[in-house]
Every structure is written in C-alpha cells, then in structure tokens.
C-alpha cells in the first residue's frame, strides 16, 4: 500500500498536499496497489483527498500535532506505517516534509529519495525515482532497494488530478509522544503563495538600482498573481528579505513562469531557477548570460519595460 502524508497548513490543505496524493495515486497504480492518505492534527475537510486518489483517509487528530515537531510527526507516521502495512510513503518536499523525510527513513531504516520530480518506475523490479541534483543543473535516477521506500515530491512538478470523489475520514489510534520543543510564536505570510510552490514568480536583481524602486516589480506580481523573488546580491545588501532569494544558495523554484528583470543570470542563479517551465528575461544588456537560458527575452530598460508588461497583462485579463 502507498501511504501519503498529506500536509495541512493551519488546518487547511494547499496544492502541495493534492500534488502528493496524485503522486501517491500514480505510484500505487504503477505498482498495482492501493493508495491511502494520512493527515495529522487539525485538517478541515480531509475527505477531499479522496478526489485525488486516496481510497481511505486516516487522521490522527491530537491537538499537539497542530505544531510541527519532526520528532513527534516521525514517531506517529512510523507507527502508522507499521500499523497499516505501508510499503511506500509519500510526502511533499516542503519545509515540513524536509524535516520529516530523513527522520522517518532513519527510524524505519528505509531508503529515501528527497525532492522527486517524476512518478517512480519499477522496470525489471528496480524501483527507481528521479530527482534534480546539483541545484537543478542535472538529474539523478536513484534505485531504492529497502522493503519500505520513502519519497518526497518537489512542488509544482506533478499537477494534481481529480480521479474520484470524496471519501470518509477515519480516526487512526496511534500513540503521540510529548514534544520537547515549545513553540512561542508563529507568523505566516497571508495571501502569498510561498516560492517553492508558486506557479508564477516575478524576480528582480541589481538592475533595480535600489530597494525604493521595487514598486514596479510588486505591481507586476500583483497583476499576475505571482510571488516576488530576488537575486542573491540584492538580498545580501538587504534590499529584499532573505526568504526571497532564489538560486543555488537560496531557494530552488519550479514555477510555470519565471520573469527575471535586471538579473544578469550568473550560473548560481540559473541553478535555482532553470527548472522553471518558461523563463522571461528583461535586461538592458543584450550580452547578459541569462538570455541563453531564457525562452523569451526583452532587451530594454526594465524601468520602461516592466510597467508596460504590467499594463499589457491588465489588458489581456480584461479580454
């Protein structure tokens, strides 16, 4: 059986959870086994996971699971894997997934592949999973040989697909150990899609000349419904917050559309963004290396081009 840990954020599901269930469903289909899902803590309307292919949804609803402690989550998931007899465990490669994947692999002495970007194959009995390596500069195909296999799924790599209807949610009785972490404060960015799961990203770099000029980037992002990002030099000098830094030493992203304005495209930046499906580069320097990695290029002054693009998108949306 394939068991998907479907992550709820603040009690509700986001796209990453549906992607993980779709991935689990396709994996189960490939293996000819059932796909089930498990949710931890508060998770409103978890029956919706049935739509993406979970034949059953299990819930461990203890209040203490409303805060993330990888150690506690791991103990609960390990108990569930053993109780339900799961052979493949799937989760999202989110902050939460990353703090659990390795722990669970160590606890179950199981093979794991983090950040998979394609459904596994099982040719000739070799269970193989594909993932990006070298910060997106290459891919590796990795075989897992242990009895239990654990995989996390890269955001925006497997589109969620509805295949059935909602299912009932049943309580799963497993012990929840006490946490040794005391959470004091949680602040979430409301209304903004986090970069790792964003479909549309608007990014800018040193060509912006200063933090006071970012209004045009924010206006474009708002018109598109995109998340804003930036290059490393810009976050290093404090023009933009660290959590916006995409690239090899920042966040790796996989959006459908990446628009980069005033970013030259150093190899370290490309590493973090070249999994984007479509790349648009706006730069006044026609020799900027980023143009070689772009699908569409605009050679021009970003202070003219970006507002013009925002206006063109506004017109497009109005039909």
């Amino acid at each position: 059986m394939v068991l998907v840990f479907a992550e709820s954020v603040n009690g509700t599901f986001k796209k990453a959870a549906f992607e993980a269930v779709t991935y689990g469903y396709k994996t189960a289909e490939m293996l000819g086994v059932a796909c089930e899902a498990i949710v931890l803590g508060k998770a409103d309307g978890a029956g919706v996971l049935g739509k993406y292919g979970a034949a059953k949804v299990h819930q461990v609803a203890a209040d203490s699971l409303n805060q993330l402690d990888g150690q506690v989550y791991t103990a609960v998931l390990a108990a569930a894997v053993e109780k339900l007899g799961a052979k493949v465990v799937i989760m999202s490669h989110t902050s939460t997934g990353k703090s659990i994947l390795g722990r669970l692999a160590a606890k179950l002495n199981a093979g794991s592949v983090p950040a998979a970007n394609a459904v596994p194959t099982n040719e000739g009995g070799v269970f193989a999973v594909r993932k990006p390596v070298f910060s997106g500069k290459a891919f590796a195909n990795i075989a897992i040989s242990s009895d239990v296999k654990i995989i996390s799924v890269t955001g925006n790599s497997i589109p969620p697909v509805e295949v059935a209807g909602e299912v009932a949610v049943t309580a799963l009785d497993v012990a929840v150990p006490a946490s040794r972490i005391t959470v004091k404060d949680v602040s979430r960015m409301e209304g903004v899609t986090p970069l790792p799961e964003a479909e549309l990203v608007v990014s800018a770099g040193r060509g912006m000349k200063g933090p006071e000029n970012w209004g045009i980037i924010e206006a474009l992002a708002e018109e598109l419904g995109a998340t804003t990002a930036c290059s490393r030099p810009v976050s290093d000098v404090g023009w933009r917050p660290h959590h916006e830094h995409v690239g090899q030493t920042g966040i790796a992203i996989h959006p459908n559309l990446y628009i980069a304005a005033g970013i030259s495209g150093a190899i370290q930046h490309l590493a973090g963004v070249n999994s984007s499906k479509t790349i648009v580069v706006i730069n006044k320097d026609p020799e900027a290396p980023f143009f070689k990695a772009a699908d569409y290029g605009v050679v021009g002054d970003l202070f003219d081009v970006v507002p013009r693009l925002t206006e063109a998108i506004r017109k497009h949306k109005q039909g």
Binding site: E7, V9, K14, L68, D69, G70, Q71, T74, T94, S95, K98, G102, R103, A106, K107, N109, A110, G111, S112, V113, P114, A115, V133, F134, S135, K137, A138, F139, A140, N141, I142, A143, I144, R180, I181, V183, K184, S187, V192, P194, E199, S235, H242, H245, T249, G250, L257, I267, S275, K277, T278, K292, A293, D295, V298, D304, A312, I313, K315, H316
Partner: protein, 247 residues
C-alpha cells in the same frame, strides 16, 4: 558547551556539471571543491559565535569522506573550529553518512549538532534529520536565528509559508539557513593555526545502503531565446498565453 558542526564537500558553485561516459558518476576532472556553503557560512560561523560569547567550549567539525576532503576540513579549522574529525569512508547514501556521524556523536555526546540546511550537490536536506533521529534529539530545521540562555535555545526558523519562534533545551540538532550568521573569511593567522589543529581520522562503522544512483542526465538544451520588441509587450503576453500557455 560541546558543539559539533557537520560539514560536506561539494563542487564549487560555478561548476559546470558533466558526467562520465556511461552517465553513472560526476566527471570530476577540473572540478574545484568547497565546503558546502550552508555548512560553512551559517552552521560553522554560528557555532563559533556561540563559543566566543560563552568564552568556553569546543567546536568540532566532522566530515565523512576520503583524505581528498582534508583541504576542505582544514579550511573549517582555519575559520576557527578547534578540532576536526574525518570518518574515513567515501560515498554512501545520506542514511549511511548520518549513521557514521551519529555513531561518533553518540560516543562523544555533544550539546548541539549543527548542519547546513542542505548540500548544493545532492539537495536532499536529509542528513540532519536522519542524524537527529538516530541520536534521539529534537531537530530544528531551517534555523535563521539562534540565541542561548543557559541550556535553553531560542530559535527562529522557517516553516511552511512563514516563520516560527521556539524554545528547546540541549541536546538538540539544527539545520542552518541564510540569516543565522554571516560568512567569515579565514585570515592568515587562522590558516597557520589550522595546520597545527588536530584532524582525527576515524574508522567507519558498518552500514547498509538502501539507495543507489543508477544514472545521471542533464536537462535538455534550451532552444534559442525568442527576442521580443521592448515596445510591444502585448506580443509577449500573447506568446505567454497562446504559445507557452502559462498565463
């Protein structure tokens, strides 16, 4: 306080990645290696700052690999670590590396075990969580701030879609993200002193590998960029909508 910083060796960030003939291994000719940036810039430096603030304690760096890793380890000593340990084993899966580190850490009981948030080659983000599980320690992933008061740490960390402040008592493990510290460049005195600091080579423990890389491949080459007239953003929007189908 005894602090352990786990460091990995990775290809330098500007490395052009190519593979050997049958695509089963990295073509290492001409590849320059560095200490994984998250390990060096954030994990190691914050550990050194804690020790300096307390005025007591030790910072040990640990690496799993062959003697070819020694220059990277020496750099960690030059930046300021007191001693280094290299577990003499090349290759192996993330779980293998975690088991090697955990075996050493268990015998030498550390108060805080530091990791970088991920390596820039395998991008797994696994070894820290695995080691913490094997040591039965709480693991705080993606720490961006760390302050100690006695045995209690107050840590700010990135969580899904936001950030969180928490308290945890030693012993614990953490992974370091950008913001935890600022990169330090080793000075000449540090480089000279590093040569005299201990680098202990330890035999590995027996482990089983559950994963194996079958092949590597490179992304398909991009077709040539389509240049759009900067005066005509309607055309770009049309292409994004009709050709790329992304908006």
């Amino acid at each position: 306080m005894k602090l352990l910083v786990c460091v990995s060796k990775t290809p330098e960030t500007t490395t052009k990645i190519t593979f050997n003939g049958d695509q089963t291994a990295l073509d290492t000719s001409g590849v320059q290696y560095i200490m994984n940036p998250y390990d060096e810039w954030y994990a190691l430096v914050r550990a050194l700052e804690l020790k300096e603030a307390l005025g007591t304690g030790t910072v040990t760096i640990i690496n799993v690999g062959s003697a070819a890793n020694d220059p990277v380890i020496r750099k960690g000593l030059a930046i300021g670590a007191d001693e280094a340990v290299r577990i003499d084993k090349e290759g192996g899966s993330s779980l293998d590396v975690a088991q090697q580190i955990a075996a050493y850490a268990k015998e030498n009981s550390f108060d805080i075990v530091f990791f970088g948030k991920e390596t820039i080659d395998y991008n797994g983000s696994e070894v820290g969580a695995m080691t913490a599980e094997l040591l039965d320690m709480p693991f705080v992933s993606f720490a961006t701030k760390l302050e100690m008061s006695g045995n209690t740490a107050t840590i700010m960390r990135d969580i899904e879609g936001g950030e969180e402040t928490l308290e945890v008592a030693t012993p614990f493990a953490l992974s370091a993200a950008k913001g935890l510290a600022e990169q330090r460049i080793p000075n000449m005195k540090g480089i000279m002193m590093a040569k005299r600091k201990p680098l202990n080579v330890v035999a590995p423990v027996d482990t089983t590998n559950h994963t194996q890389v079958l092949t590597y491949d490179l992304p398909p080459a991009k077709s040539a960029v389509k240049l759009i007239d900067p005066e005509n953003m309607d055309e770009l929007v049309r292409l994004l909508s009709e050709e790329a189908k992304v908006i």
